[in-house]
């Protein structure tokens, strides 16, 4: 808080000693940093810390409400399924820019890759909570079962996280002061970039769909509104628009709060891609339900059906209606909230498949323990904080001049 220090030192004629002033001003500066959001983040981290203790020192029974009939809960549903799905923006934008030559998305390329990378990091951290014996997380590398969907998923996630780290690495390497090493690395990176993007697209397409494929084996357990041989396609088709929606929200927030300089028209461009993708997904869902003769379940008065309609409303109907309005398409704030609705719909879908649609069969009513929420939330918030600092200190998005702007609020904070 350099501004504070300046105003304070200019008024030291009152006879106070300089040391005393410095101490006072330091306290004032420290308190002025306690904002609403910082308090919230600190509280989430505190809760997350306790959850970490509960999970790793006390075990599943203390940290979760998981039971044999409900062996996968919030950590899989929210942490893994939503985490991976909502991180699909990186591969979508990278494919658009590098493979399809859609240069107009280049300004948001790094942002989307960063979001994906951090997203996959949260998934990997979440996996440590999720696995009963987390220190054996490397086992799938050497112990293979090619018949397991989860085996394929674990390999794809492992490889794709590496791809994302490499794709994102120049943003960090650029900051290395040794010119020689930097140039060498960047040249090497440039030569493998297309291969990386190509591998990323294939790996993403595979595991985004295979995450749905995990539930193919639950035939007879999963509610017929969701169980379809095309679960893989469903997961793939819904992940791309949801991932793009997250990218839109992040770009909007960067411009609003982090002084990023992005032409907001890019949000309208992305929304014009999201709308047809959601429409295709909606049509696919409808055709699938009709062809499987599952339409009878659409009008039953039961919880699963209500949740199904909530999911369809949030993921397909409401966003499509909103994106059809020109005013929404051209207003960044409206696009932000539309994206939020899509993300909410997406999360409803994944939680339905992984938890609620299996509930009727399992005969136990699973409500996650607060520590389950806290653990996942803390991981996500850690990723958001990391994202914020990456945008501030690295060249992720073009920033408004002067460069050191964020260190100092544009209007001096009068504590």
């Amino acid at each position: 808080m350099t501004t504070l220090r300046k105003t304070a030192t200019s008024g030291t004629t009152t006879g106070m000693t300089a040391a005393r002033v410095t101490a006072l001003e330091k306290t004032a500066a420290a308190f002025s940093k306690i904002s609403f959001w910082r308090t919230v983040v600190a509280m989430i981290f505190a809760a997350g810390l306790y959850s970490m203790y509960a999970r790793f020192a006390l075990g599943f029974q203390a940290a979760t409400n998981l039971t044999d009939p409900q062996p996968w809960g919030l950590w899989v549903g929210l942490g893994t399924l939503c985490g991976v799905g909502l991180s699909a923006g990186g591969f979508a934008i990278a494919t658009a820019v590098y493979i399809l030559g859609q240069e107009r998305y280049r300004p948001i390329l790094r942002t989307s890759v960063l979001i994906s990378f951090l997203g996959y990091c949260t998934v990997c951290v979440g996996m440590l909570y999720e696995l009963g014996i987390p220190w054996r997380i490397w086992h799938p590398i050497v112990m293979w079962n090619r018949h397991s969907v989860l085996f394929e998923v674990s390999w794809c996630v492992m490889l794709y996280t590496t791809v994302l780290a490499l794709e994102f690495s120049p943003a960090l390497v650029e900051k290395i002061p040794w010119t020689r090493a930097r140039e060498l690395y960047l040249r090497w990176h440039h030569s493998i970039l297309i291969a990386l993007v190509l591998a990323g697209t294939l790996l993403s397409s595979m595991h985004q769909s295979f995450l749905g494929g995990l539930y193919l084996i639950t035939k007879g357990k999963l509610d017929p509104l969701w169980y379809t041989p095309y679960l893989t396609t469903m997961f793939y088709l819904s992940a791309i628009p949801a991932g793009l929606a997250v990218t839109m929200m992040a770009i909007y927030l960067c411009v609003r709060s982090l002084n990023a300089r992005v032409d907001m028209n890019i949000l309208s461009d992305v929304s014009r891609v999201i709308a047809p993708l959601l429409a295709i997904y909606g049509v696919f869902r409808a055709v699938d339900l009709i062809s499987r003769d599952a339409t009878q379940y659409l009008w039953m008065w039961r919880e699963a059906t209500l949740l199904f309609w909530l999911e369809i409303a949030l993921l397909v109907v409401v966003p499509l209606v909103l994106l059809n309005l020109q005013k929404v398409r051209n207003t960044p704030l409206y696009l932000y909230w539309t994206s939020a609705v899509i993300v909410a719909g997406f999360m409803t879908n994944r939680l339905n498949v992984s938890i609620t649609a299996l509930q009727a069969n399992s005969a136990v009513y699973y409500v996650p323990k607060w520590t389950e929420f806290a653990a996942t939330l803390a991981t996500i918030v850690a990723a958001i904080v990391a994202f914020r600092y990456a945008v501030i200190y690295l060249d992720i998005l073009p920033k408004n001049p002067p460069r050191e702007r964020w260190m100092v609020p544009s209007t001096p904070a009068q504590a």
Binding site: W72, P134, R146, T201, L202, I217, S362
Partner: protein
């Protein structure tokens, strides 16, 4: 290869004495005392359904969903019949619990280093030529063990010769066949047996997994093609721009 072992449970004969439960607990060193549901310390339980007693245990499928689901191959269908679990490989993902159509595997939720638990058809005892402990303990031969083909034949013989039986052997075609069979005089659905698909469960995921290589090949070719077009366009655009500027100068 030795013969494939199997168990037949004749529900009409079971008297509900729970000797099988106790024998199972004894050889595994579990605390004695009856449990109502399968648990990490109860690999088989006798459930009361009306006036019948139904023994629950791992079905030891011929093509088990759990074994196909396990990403590290900790669960295996052995040639001798039992579906066994290798705790040393297990990472605790619990996909086997999700996958099992009969909801049999149990997890040690209360332990800090938890493992999956389920009946292994006394694989070690059977390898030595002994019957499973539960079968040995049954005082009325409601459970019998033997070669899978012989056991199926015996079950067939019983339901054909006695009209009281339901004309179905539960396990004969459920999920493509199991190694534990039930015959009953009361319809199976009334005894809490779940209606499961008739085809082996792993087929459901095998189809999707089979698409993997195709996705890589076709997708890879398609993306490479698209990239080539993009590059070509950029080159053409560059050349045109250079030509234009050259003309403009000339």
């Amino acid at each position: 290869m030795a013969t494939t072992r199997a168990i037949l449970v004749d529900i009409t004969k079971c008297i509900g004495c729970r000797s099988c439960e106790q024998a199972c607990k004894q050889i595994h060193g579990f605390p004695m005392g009856s449990e109502t549901k399968l648990s990490p310390t109860a690999f088989t339980v006798v459930e009361e359904r009306g006036d019948r007693f139904v023994r629950r245990m791992c079905m030891h499928c011929q093509d088990p969903a759990c074994a196909s689901a396990c990403l590290v191959g900790a669960l295996k269908k052995t040639a001798a019949g039992p579906v066994t679990y290798d705790g040393a490989k297990c990472i605790g993902c619990r996909y086997c619990l999700v996958a099992c159509p009969f909801s049999v595997p149990r997890y040690q939720w209360s332990k800090l280093v938890p493992y999956v638990t389920k009946c292994d058809l006394c694989a070690a005892r059977q390898a030595k030529g002994q019957p499973p402990a539960c079968v040995e303990a049954c005082p009325v031969q409601a459970s019998i063990a033997g070669d899978r083909d012989d056991i199926l034949e015996e079950a067939q013989r019983r339901i054909l010769n006695d009209p009281k039986y339901v004309k179905h052997i539960y396990g004969s075609d459920e999920v493509g066949g199991t190694s534990v069979f039930f015959i009953s005089d009361v319809p199976f659905e009334k005894l809490g047996f779940v209606a499961v698909p008739k085809q082996p469960m792993p087929i459901l995921t095998a189809n999707a997994l089979g698409d993997g290589p195709t996705v890589i090949l076709v997708g890879g070719a398609l993306l490479s093609g698209l990239y080539w077009i993009t590059e070509r366009r950029a080159q053409v655009a560059l050349a045109e721009a250079q030509e234009k500027s050259a003309k403009g100068r000339g």
